[in-house]
Symmetry: C2
Subunit: 325 residues, 2 copies
Amino acid sequence: MADKLEIPGKLTFDALVATHERIAAYVHRTPVLTCRSIDEWTGAELHFKCENFQKMGAFKMRGAVNALLQLPKEQLEKGVATHSSGNFAQALALSARMLGVKAYIVMPSNSPSVKKAAVRGYGGQIIECEPTLQAREDTLQQVVAKTGATFVHPFNDEQVILGQGTAAKELIEDAGPFDYLVAPVGGGGLCAGTALAARFLTKGTKTVGAEPLGADDAWQSMQAGRLIPQTNPQTIADGLRTSLGDKTFPVLYHLTESIVRVPETAIIEALRYILERMKIVVEPSSAVALAAIKEDPTRFRGKRVGVILSGGNLDLTLLGEWMRN
Amino acid sequence: MADKLEIPGKLTFDALVATHERIAAYVHRTPVLTCRSIDEWTGAELHFKCENFQKMGAFKMRGAVNALLQLPKEQLEKGVATHSSGNFAQALALSARMLGVKAYIVMPSNSPSVKKAAVRGYGGQIIECEPTLQAREDTLQQVVAKTGATFVHPFNDEQVILGQGTAAKELIEDAGPFDYLVAPVGGGGLCAGTALAARFLTKGTKTVGAEPLGADDAWQSMQAGRLIPQTNPQTIADGLRTSLGDKTFPVLYHLTESIVRVPETAIIEALRYILERMKIVVEPSSAVALAAIKEDPTRFRGKRVGVILSGGNLDLTLLGEWMRN
C-alpha cells in the first residue's frame, strides 16, 4: 500500500510561501516563548509557537482563511460551509466574517452551548443536526445544495494544510534552526503543514507527530501503511479525536520521523507545566506535543526543538478535575 | 487624624529611578498586552502589565530584590528572613539565591505543601510555626536572634514599595500616557508604588486601588482617615487578605483617587475573561483590578487605563469550582 501514498501535488515550497503572504493580513504572527523550568524538566531546549494567542484562539484560523482566499470571488460570495463542533467551526465563521461572506456551520444538536455561542459570536449561522456522522454529512449536503455554499474540510484540504504550515514557517524563521519540530496530530492538517515547512525551509529538521495513546489512529496508520480510522477515541485532547484524511496521511507517512504516543496522565502533567510555569492557557491538544517530548527523552534530550502549541480554547470547568487526579 | 499621615521621605522620584536601575538585571521587563474583546466588554482601552510573567510569577520579586540590594554587604551576608505563606516568601527566597545569601522563611505549619515546595525550590529555608500571627512573629524574632538575618517586611518597607513601583514605571514608559492606573490592594505595596510612579512620571494620571468587598480594609481606612486592620477577610483573592501598613497607607491616602471594591462574583467573572480571552494565567488578585474597571463604568468608560496584573500563581485545582458557580 505504502508506495501508493502520494503527497498531493499542490503542496509545494512556492505554494507555502504564497500562502504565508496571502494570509498575513488576516492572522496574528504569534510569539515564540521559552521557559527555563520546562527546559530543565524535559532536558531539551524548547521554543513554543503560541497559537493559543492566534485569532479565535487556535492555528485553525490560518487554514480556514487561506481556503477562503483561494476561492473564486463568485463562489466565495455564496458563502462557505463546514461541519464541526470544534475550533474549525469558529475559524471558518471568523474568516468568513472578515471577508464579508456567510458561514454555515453544521453542528450536532448536543454541542455544548458555549461552543454554539462562540460560533454565533463570530457571525456563523448554525444548522443543527442529529449527533451522528451520517446526519452531519447529510445536513451539510442539504445546506450546500440549498445555498450554493462551498464546503471547506477542516483538515483534508491542500489549502488548509498549507495554511496550517505557516505556523511552523514562522517558528523556523523566528527561532530556528531546530533539530526537531513537534506538532499534535488529530486530522493531521497541522502536523502535515509542519512537516512540509520543515522539508521546504530547513536542512534536516525532523518532524515528530504527537498523539494521545487513546486516539492513536495516526500511529496505527503509519504502522499499517494505510489509513486506519479512529474508532472510539478516549482522550481529554478533544482536538485530536478525529481520523487522518487521505491528503494528510501521505504527508505524515513520508515526511515525519515518527509518531510519539502519550498516555492521558502525561498529557495532564504537561498541561499543568504549561499553565503553572509558562502562565499561559492552552488546550489539552497543545499539551500533547510537550508530553511527547517528556515521554521520549532519548530522542529529544539535549536537542533544540520547536513545539507548536496549537490552541488555547480550554474548558476551565474541567480543569480542576484533571488537576486533582 | 488625616493630617498626620505622612508619606515616608525616602519615597522620591530619584529613589524610584535609582531602584529601577538597581533591579533591572534581576527582574524581567514584563510585556504589556492588550485584548480587544476585553476592551469591548469594559468599554475602556486597557493595557495590561503582565507581572504574571515576572520571575517566580509575581511583582513581589521587584520589591524583594530591591530590599536585598539596599542592605550593606556584611548585613546581607547573614541572610534575610520573613514570614509569609504567599508570593513574597518565594520572591525573597529567589532574590536571596540570586545574591548568594540565605533566606529564612517562617511559614505556618498548615501552609499548603505546594507553597512550601515552591519556597524550597527557590532555595529558601523553611521554619515552621503554629498557624497564628503571634507564633509567626515570635518565631521570626527567634530566627533573627539566632542567625543575625535581616527581617524584610513583605510590603510595609520603603525599599519594597519602590521596587513594586517599577512595574508601573515600565507600564507608563511602554504604553503611556494613561488616564488611569489600576492596581490591586492587599498590604498596599503595589498600589503605593503605582501611585508614586503615576505622581512622579506623569501629568495627571490617576491611580485607583482595587479591593475585594470581602477584604476592604483599605476602603475602610480611607473613609476613616486612619488604619483599620482587616479582620476575617472573605475572598478568593488570597494575595489581598492582609491589612495595610503605616508606610503604605499614607501613600494611598494622599495619592490615590479612590479605592473601588468588588464582589466575589465580579472577581470570578474578570478572572474568566482574562483566562478565556487573553489566554494567560493570572491569580484572583490580578482579576480584582479588571473587575474594578468593569464594576465602575462611569469612571473608566472611554478612558485609557493601565492595569497591573499582579501575578500568575493560581491554584488550578480550585479554578473549576469557581468557574462552575
